[in-house]
């Protein structure tokens, strides 16, 4: 029991403390351990983890085939792909040593592994990612609804980012955006007051003001900047977005700190199966 419980906890506690102290104590041995040795250990362990991960994958897929679980036919493809990649990576190079040595063959043109990457992995991977465009379009059509104030805010900022970020956004004049705002406000006034005369006066006055201002200033496409889509999207990126992202990052940081302390003090023991 001591080998399965106390010793692993002791190792984690000692290594955790040393790594933590490495940031605060300027002692060469501790510094060397934290910066060199520990990272080397991590590399070695990561290499073994790849082997374990591969074995686990093949075990699960083979089990699925043997017991003919739902979708087992896809597991056949997975196992065949796995075996093909192993063969191309370790046994069949496809070229002479003069063209590429073992190791370098992975990225050398003409080898079986490079062929597999270029003509199997790349197109399939790109296809999967490309499908997102279709699903995003379909999902935004069905799910992006103005149900309440928060949803409206999300929708408006989403549209500004989508249009302002691409070149077409920079050819949309800020005056056009102002006209749109006047018309949208007119719709809101109409819903609120339910009086066509008020709505008409509001829209007519709004359009007149924008038009007169446009003639006065010569209709510059990017002025006033507050109505120019690329300028608005940059502002959204720089301020509201950064504020939100920072708060999330600080939250995550505090979470990592709390979890690390739990590991170092031996409170968190999920890594030994408890």
């Amino acid at each position: 029991m001591i080998w399965k419980r106390q010793i692993p906890i002791l190792i984690v506690t000692i290594v955790g403390w040393i790594t933590l102290l490495g940031w605060f104590i300027d002692q060469p041995d501790i510094q060397e351990f934290v910066n060199d040795d520990a990272t080397q250990w991590f590399d070695i362990l990561a290499s073994f983890a790849i082997i374990l991960g591969a074995l686990n994958l093949i075990k699960l897929q083979v089990q699925k085939i043997l017991y003919q679980k739902p979708g087992w036919i896809y597991s056949v493809v997975a196992v065949m792909g796995f075996l093909f990649a192993i063969t191309a990576g370790f046994f069949v190079k496809g070229v002479d040593d003069s063209v590429a040595q073992w190791g370098a063959h992975v990225t050398t043109d003409g080898t079986l592994f490079k062929w597999m990457f270029d003509y199997m992995f790349s197109p399939m991977s790109a296809t999967m990612f490309s499908l997102l465009a279709f699903f995003v379009a379909s999902a935004s059509y069905r799910a992006f609804r103005i149900r309440n104030f928060e949803a409206t805010l999300l929708l408006v900022s989403g549209i500004i980012i989508m249009v302002g970020r691409v070149p077409i956004g920079s050819v949309i004049s800020s005056w056009f955006v102002m006209y749109l705002i006047v018309l949208s406000a007119g719709i809101y006034i109409n819903v609120w007051k339910k009086d066509m005369n008020t709505t008409f006066v509001f829209v007519a006055v709004g359009i007149s003001i924008v038009t007169i201002a446009g003639f006065m200033y010569g209709w510059p496409i990017d002025k006033p900047g507050i109505f120019y889509l690329p300028a608005i999207q940059e502002w959204i990126y720089y301020y509201p977005n950064v504020a939100g992202a920072r708060s999330i990052m600080i939250g995550i940081g505090l979470g990592i700190f709390a979890t690390s302390i739990r590991y170092i003090l031996g409170i968190e023991r999920s890594y030994i199966g408890e």
Binding site: S122, S140, Y141, I159
Partner: protein
Amino acid sequence: MSKIQDTFLKIGSIDRRWIFLIIAAVVIVPLIFPVGLPIRPTDTTKNVYDSIEKLPAGSKVLLSVEYSPSTRPENHPMTISILRHLFKNNHKVFITCLWPDGQFMAQDAINQVAKQEFNKTYGVDYVFLGFRPGNEAVVKGIVSNLRKLYTVDVYQKKIDEIPLMNGINNFKDFDFLFSSSAGFPGTIEWVQYASDPTGIPMASGVTSIQVNEVMPYVQAGQMVGVLAGMPGAAEYEALINQKGSATSGMDAQSVAHLVIVLFIILGNVSFFIERNRSKKY
């Protein structure tokens, strides 16, 4: 009025396969017949360009490639443009990969830019160190002792035998870092473990979806700038005056974004009509 509302309701319940077809059409048509919309470089992109422009000739630049074929249309034009800019200004380039797939992407960029366009000499003008497993531990390894981590390059040549590697022992020996990243491990790990602790300036090229999480580092000055998605890549192509796949992709992306916005508006009109009708009855 009722007929118009019925039409909107019909549009609202359109089969999603029609949406797929329209999206396919609006992406393909501008790719075949480009409109050539003007590209306006943003400040974050200009800052990356200016930082590289300010580096003295022969500066040692670490280029980290961490993306896979799935995000190639966004990240690869950035890598190509940055390599072009670096070689044009006669800088020395050291290429590493935090992603295994990144090695293939980097090799592709090297073949195109270093070999075909600039005819640069391997080991003298650039070195391809390749991929090492370990995520952020690799970044820490490069910061503390690169030679412990990389004993051979990607072609299995000993690091000690490569002339360009003379005097390169750790991250502090570089003058600039550019990370072309599509996620973890990537830009954020380079900021946290390499650039910020050592003070070596860095910039990054990321996918559009990553811009949100990278922007705080740019605003805090921990990164000199960022190329934000395909638009960022197109802006950089405009700045180095060499158009590429990102520029040609911008027309398609512009039209596709407009169409998605149109879909959202139509969907909402249909939603309001439906809601008003259900309130009535």
